[in-house]
């Protein structure tokens, strides 16, 4: 049987997309793991800020010789915190790039699919083969992945926006809250999907 051009076109688009997802997943994971030490540092800094706030400097005799100490220390601590926040912002920007790259590629796949959907026929769309899941399944998985990145990004962005120096307890709880996001939602969705299409990708 001669290869069916519309089918090949859709399969090629799917392959390209999954390969992109594989690459972007690497970037996503790497950015996330970079965030952990930064959040730990931030939480530590918040602990220091809290401790300094609890100390009554004027009641510590050895520190009376340094009248401007409290303010100077706080300024330095906040400056260190801002540096960390900048770095976290960069990581968040990477996550956004991943989200956008995946969204854009998935959109393209669906455009190709729409172009050929009528000529493909329902069997071709729904039929899996030995080496390939059905087109319908793969399209659905890509939608799931796209939604997955979108939601996870949003959750992390929301958490990041909640950071403010007025709420030190919140900052100290950040590392745990951040990890919770990873645990809550289908941590392995992308990995599992890529496994499912591994034969298809080699084709």
């Amino acid at each position: 049987m001669t290869p069916d051009p519309p089918l090949v076109a859709v399969q090629e688009a799917l392959r390209k997309c999954f390969l992109l997802v594989e690459e972007q997943q690497g970037l996503w994971r790497s950015a996330l793991s970079d965030c952990q030490p930064l959040l730990a540092s931030l939480a530590n800094l918040a602990e220091q800020l809290q401790a300094a706030q609890n100390v009554r400097f004027e009641e510590v005799p050895p520190l009376r010789a340094f009248p401007d100490l409290e303010e100077r220390l706080r300024r330095k601590q906040l400056a260190a915190g801002d540096t960390i926040l900048d770095k976290l912002g960069e990581k968040l920007a990477t996550l956004l790039k991943v989200r956008d790259a995946v969204s854009s590629q998935v959109e393209q796949v669906f455009e190709v699919y729409q172009q050929h959907a009528d000529t493909l026929g329902i069997d071709a769309i729904l039929q899996p083969s030995v080496v390939s899941p059905s087109l319908a399944d793969m399209l659905e998985w890509l939608q799931d992945i796209e939604r997955h990145y979108r939601r996870r990004y949003l959750k992390r962005k929301y958490l990041f926006s909640s950071i403010q120096w007025g709420d030190l307890a919140n900052i100290q709880a950040l590392p745990k809250a951040w990890d919770q996001i990873s645990e809550d939602e289908h941590q392995d969705l992308v990995q599992d999907t890529l496994l499912n299409v591994s034969f298809f990708l080699e084709g």
């Binding site: 602990e47 220091q48 809290q50 401790a51 300094a52 609890n54 100390v55 510590v60 050895p62 520190l63 010789a65 340094f66 100490l69 100077r72 220390l73 300024r75 330095k76 601590q77 400056a79 260190a80």
Partner: protein, 225 residues
């Protein structure tokens, strides 16, 4: 550039170049320029050494604070468990003596000594820079415009930067001395953590210090403009 006074328009340095006359003063000026340039390099090295000792000191101070806090916790537990009707005749260990703590404190003292030596050298750099300025004043008397040793900085500016840096490190040293004396005796967790934070963040080393140093290195040609 932060720290530079605003009254150095380009016209002054142009005028300085047109002075051109080779006077007997020239050799003295170039010796001065060499001195200032060497001082800038010395500043850079001293600050690097200071930072390195600061990091090492922080690790030691951190260990002291952790040990102290765990000792305090142990004490609290022991106090709770000791009752008047207890049969055991345990002698309560002297609360503040602990061999490990003593060793760590000695380590921190040694680090403080190292930092003190560095700050003393900083003072020396400042005083030799002052010497160069005084020499220049002697040669130029009342002249307000004099040739710059390098690009745009009047010689007095090198002294101002030097003074500012050594003063700030001097203040920081006083604070560190206090921390070294107090840390192992702090009974309060928040205070101990604050001492650590003070050591780490160095409230008296101004955040402009790296810029001042960079300015000096750029001016003297240690860094490419």
């Amino acid at each position: 550039m932060p720290g530079l006074s605003s009254s150095h328009p380009l016209s002054i340095s142009v005028r300085a170049q047109t002075l051109g006359v080779v006077t007997p003063r020239k050799p003295v000026l170039s010796v001065s320029a060499r001195k200032i340039k060497d001082n800038a390099a010395d500043w850079h090295n001293l600050i690097l050494k200071w930072d390195s000792l600061n990091d090492a000191g922080f690790a030691t101070a951190n260990a002291i604070a952790n040990l102290k806090m765990s000792l305090l916790n142990k004490e609290k537990i022991e106090l709770k468990s000791n009752s008047p009707t207890s049969d055991t005749n345990e002698e309560k260990p002297y609360p503040e003596y602990n061999k490990e703590l003593e060793v760590l404190c000695e380590e921190l003292h040694a680090t403080l000594d190292g930092l003190t030596k560095i700050q003393t050298k900083m003072e020396k750099l400042t005083s030799t820079t002052k010497g160069v300025c005084d020499l220049e004043n002697y040669h130029h008397g009342e002249e307000s415009q004099r040739p710059h040793l390098f690009h745009t900085w009047p010689t007095a500016h090198f002294y101002a930067v030097s003074r500012r840096l050594s003063d700030s490190y001097g203040k920081e040293l006083l604070l560190k001395r206090t921390i070294v004396e107090e840390l192992a005796h702090s009974e309060d967790h928040d205070l101990a953590l604050s001492y650590l934070s003070m050591w780490l963040h160095q409230p008296y080393v101004e955040s402009t210090s790296p810029l001042l140093l960079e300015g000096m290195l750029l001016e003297t040609g240690h860094r490419a403009l």
